[in-house]
Symmetry: C2
Subunit: 650 residues, 2 copies
């Protein structure tokens, strides 16, 4: 983090990237063709509420009070699709939603269906802890920025700016000193500032960030003085065991500069810290940068599942105690994976360090991608690493419908994570078949990336256009890759054992046709958990490349609890083009414990275990629950000495 | 279970047993001197409700609707104490409570403070699923039977019979065909039948048992037609995921003869099946006996913690899926341990098989006894086998105050479990220092039992009085005892390797002074869990004799998660007279994992574990949380090959 300065790396706009990838192609096509349209239908009752505000329909408010954000998130997702594809029907749908929003927004710029229909004007902005008004404005802004990309001057952006201006008028020192219960508007206002240059947006975002967590919390006052609008975020979550105010649930426990550990609601936390990171990208504030680094380290070393998932406490969707990572009873909300990916992405842009992309990739392929079925029609809200009884299944929708549109907007904007630039350098972050055109300091450059990822560890980058000046291609070497070889136009290139910030950097005067080939071994790995993580003790997890694997009942002897994996096992990768839309499985000789000897006792000291080899197959975690329903586990019991001896004897 | 017949064994009345035991003495003294008086004070607000019914005080009902049963249970506990000790103050307190009950009971025999104060008479018996009216009558009967023991003709028994007669008038075929939501009255009515000979009590108990679980469930009807009185038992617990009626929570899913698995609320289940067992003791119904056997086997082979605790699902206090036995997130309610002990006791009386006493003893010393602090002032409702964060502590009271008075009444009536008789045989079930006088077919016999249990495996039984006729002493050989020696007046006695129903039977013409000595090895055992129990995989639990042990932070390096126990470890029993009122600890050389190598990664495949030997101390599970608060675990991670190798190398 020595390299803190304003906007150290540049995000590549998603229109500059054309993805053509065998792995992501089907996922994104399901998103476009199925997910988006299903979600639009499910959102109709929410649009009705806005229609009632607009006077286009008669009636009162119906449904959960956090009505509007999923609509905005849907528009954002649709606009990402429209940025790279022509789809008149989708465009019409977007525009007709904007028509409703336009009518629903009042003259002040305020829009929030629940408050507009159900509450007197005086109650606006009085219930920030749980009321979600500022959260909604944030998502309106993000949708507007996505819409503005389509053909420049966007009327949704005009609407969003009116809302943002209203927020900037109302809030700030000397005015309303509240701040959002659910962070989101901070990152949105900073991005709006970048798009428009209006300083007020940056100032208000800064105000929200710095005001949170001060003594005499606004939320504490609200909880004691204001009737609460509640949905998932109930007031009880803001109180400790003896009933005293405890703001940690909403990161309101201390001023931002004093945050040291990941606490509270995982989605709120990652959205807040994404906003703070965006702020530091503007201000180069070293103190805040150090706070972010400390928090991110805490998240990844004390609070993350092997899948990258975060937030282990179901009751509050929150971070638990350090290294409390229960499997079956865990949470790992899909939106929290989204939030973590979002934060990873901007931490990378702030620092240029590949480890943030490593974490982004891990979370993307596992904790996030498991949140949607292969056909794009079902979603999971929480993603535990074990389903003993096999009753867990994705669902078509949730009343608190935060996850499905977050899945849609991320899949539709995957382009944003693949590349980045800085000065004369083009960064290749993710291995996704694609073409990108960027402007470097040294001029325009276009490259084509070809991969068969995540199944094979080979990457080919062909330069299609380059200026005569020397520029740099920086290709991420994943943290799990131990044996890496590289070649430039067929000739071996030295890969330093100590990489600069995790990237292989090739500085050349590039010519069209120049080819860089990268190859890393992708062996199956048996992971163990930190000795202080009780839930992984005596177990192993399988990982290959960026993918974490699981045992699913449909492929294995059941109960899965009886299947053990011996230390030293070397699973065989087997590519199965017809399985789960094409996956590489990890097959291994496991050990099945014969229950025969155990028929009548749950516990015994004279363990005469009947063990026998059994064929086991692990599939990628993201792909589970797409076939016959059944049990699943990521952390497989490791065989112990007694079992091993019995096998050796037999 | 071939030997099914009515009342096959006789319980020995608690007045025939005088306990003088170093282990149980302090526990029972704390119960008499501290627990009972504390509880009486806590119950005052509940007695006030009965006073209001009686017109002795003005005001409406206050507090939880299940107001009365804890008062009855308290009286029952106090009467057990009074049966063996003279305590005028306690007796006065009991009698003054009976004064209130007498005034509160209405002319019909009905008594239930909540319904009497808050509801019209027409609503009585309309909300059986959750209303607890019949449950309360059951406890009134049990209290009355205990009171009747004090000096014969009891006015509380008269009151209870009026309530019981009223219930028998109201319920039955041709009348009100309902049955209790929370079973209890079944077992109480059968015991009342035994005490009085009134057939109607047996008939109504039989009706309640056989009516439950039939098609067109009464509870289902109530849930759809009657406003619910709710406390802990909310109507949602009676519905499945799609909202359909599912009676399994309250064992209303099938007629009793079709019950095959332990389901639903663990306390309700054990109370119901205790009643059914009492019924079979009267009727010798072979079909029901087989049902009970199947259910008991299911409980102990699929649903019991190593401590004997049952009921693993906190949300519903219920049995979970078979072999779903989570440690940290488990439940194992103290009342469920009480219910299991109660059921074990009557299953033994029904069958004469020692295995039921084995389970009773395990549950008594562990899952039950952990429910109260050593000083008798604090209680636990749920008793998980792990407290990672160390935040779990016993409490002084609970609004739903079922557990504390159950603890009190069991400790005060421990005598009932120690001995039993049948024909010419005196059974010595539990090893408790005591004297007992019984009438056998062959005449009166008095013996004295001396033990230093559970710390040493030696039992001495001295005959103090016997008739000249040949009679039998049957001494239980615990299932965990592998090496047993016995002597009769100093001369070795053969202990058959195949015991008859688990007892060593000595048939003699006994003379005063005859001495039987029994000695069993009591090594520390490393238990493993059934391979299909995911939560015990890769872990071991320590047991010595009937006691299950745990690691407590105050005795060990923390975090406990870092402490491993190697397979093959042989812990050393060390008796510490000043620790925890005198316990034998299990000390062993554990393995501590040094986190140094793991500082920055939660998961890794290149495990270079720094392991070193560390002194570990385990204490009995019942005694934990009586010193400095901290973490606790029963299932200790077992060391694996990698760790073992590192130690062997160093």
């Amino acid at each position: 983090m020595d390299d803190v300065h304003g906007r150290s790396l540049n995000q590549v706009d998603l229109t500059a990237v054309q993805i053509d990838d065998e792995f992501w192609g089907p996922r994104r096509e399901a998103n476009r063709k199925s997910t988006l349209w299903d979600e639009r239908e499910k959102l109709e009752s929410r649009v009705d509420n806005l229609r009632r505000v607009a006077g286009l329909e008669v009636g009162g408010f119906e449904g959960p009070y956090h009505n509007d954000p999923p609509i905005y998130k849907w528009i954002e997702a649709a606009c990402y699709v429209l940025a790279t594809e022509t789809d008149p029907e989708l465009r019409d749908t977007v525009e007709s939603l904007i028509d409703v929003i336009e009518e629903a927004q009042d003259d002040s710029g305020y829009i929030h269906a629940y408050y507009q229909l159900e509450r007197p004007t005086a109650e606006r902005w009085t219930n920030l802890a749980t009321g979600h008004e500022l959260f909604a404005v944030g998502h309106l802004i993000e949708a507007a920025l996505a819409h503005d990309r389509l053909d420049g001057r966007s009327r949704l952006l005009d609407l969003a700016r009116r809302s943002a201006d209203h927020v900037c008028d109302v809030f700030g020192r000397g005015g309303h000193t509240g701040y959002p219960g659910h962070p989101e508007i901070e990152l949105a206002l900073i991005r709006l500032y970048r798009a428009t240059g209006t300083e007020a947006y940056l100032e208000t975002a800064t105000f929200f960030i710095e005001e949170r967590g001060r003594p005499d919390s606004r939320f504490e006052w609200e909880l004691n003085h204001v009737e609460q609008v509640t949905g998932g975020q109930t007031p009880a979550l803001f109180r400790d065991e003896v009933g005293e105010y405890d703001g940690s649930y909403s990161q309101d426990h201390a001023p931002i500069r004093e945050h040291t550990r990941m606490r509270g609601h995982a989605v709120m936390a990652t959205f807040l810290y994404t906003g703070v990171t965006e702020l530091v990208r503007e201000t180069a504030d070293r103190e805040l940068a150090a706070v972010l680094q400390r928090l991110w380290d805490d998240m990844t070393t004390a609070h993350a599942y092997v899948t990258g998932g975060i937030g282990t406490v179901p009751e509050s969707e929150s971070f638990g105690e350090p290294r409390h990572l229960p499997n079956e009873g865990g949470y790992a909300e899909t939106c929290a994976a989204f939030g973590k990916i979002q934060w990873d992405a901007v931490m990378f842009l702030l620092t240029g360090e590949a480890r943030f992309v490593d974490d982004l990739e891990l979370t993307l392929f596992n904790a996030f991608l498991t949140g949607i079925s292969l056909d794009g029609t079902k979603f999971s809200y929480d993603n535990p690493l074990s389903s003993e009884g096999g009753e867990r299944h994705r669902q078509q929708w949730f009343e608190t419908s935060c996850c499905p549109p977050n899945v849609a907007r991320l899949l539709a904007s995957l382009e944003q994570f693949v590349y980045a630039t800085k000065g004369d350098t083009l960064f290749v972050n993710l291995f996704v078949g694609s073409e990108v055109t960027v402007g470097l300091e040294t001029g325009r450059m276009r490259i084509q990336q070809s991969v068969d990822y995540p199944w094979h560890g080979s990457v080919e980058v062909v330069v299609e256009r380059a200026e005569p000046e020397t520029s740099t291609l920086a290709i991420r070497i994943p943290s799990w890759a131990e044996s890496v070889t590289a070649a430039y136009n067929g000739r071996p290139v030295d890969v330093p054992s100590e990489l600069e910030q995790g990237f292989l950097r090739l500085e050349r005067a590039w010519s069209p046709g120049d080819t860089v080939s990268l190859s890393f071994d992708m062996p199956a790995e048996l992971l163990r958990g930190h000795p202080s993580v009780r839930h992984t003790a005596g177990r192993v997890a399988l990982r290959r490349g960026p993918l974490v694997y699981c045992l699913e009942a449909v492929d294995n002897e059941t109960p899965l609890e009886g299947v053990h994996c011996a230390t030293g096992t070397d699973p065989t990768p087997v590519h199965e083009p017809d399985l789960l839309e094409g996956v590489t499985t990890l097959d291994f000789a496991g050990i099945s414990i014969d229950d025969g000897e155990w028929d009548t006792a749950l516990y015994r000291s004279d363990t005469e275990i009947e063990a026998r080899p059994v064929d086991c197959r692990a599939v990628p975690y993201y792909a589970w629950d797409n076939r016959s329903p059944g049990a699943m586990c990521v952390w497989i019991p490791a065989s112990n000495e007694a079992i091993q001896e019995r096998l050796d004897d037999s």
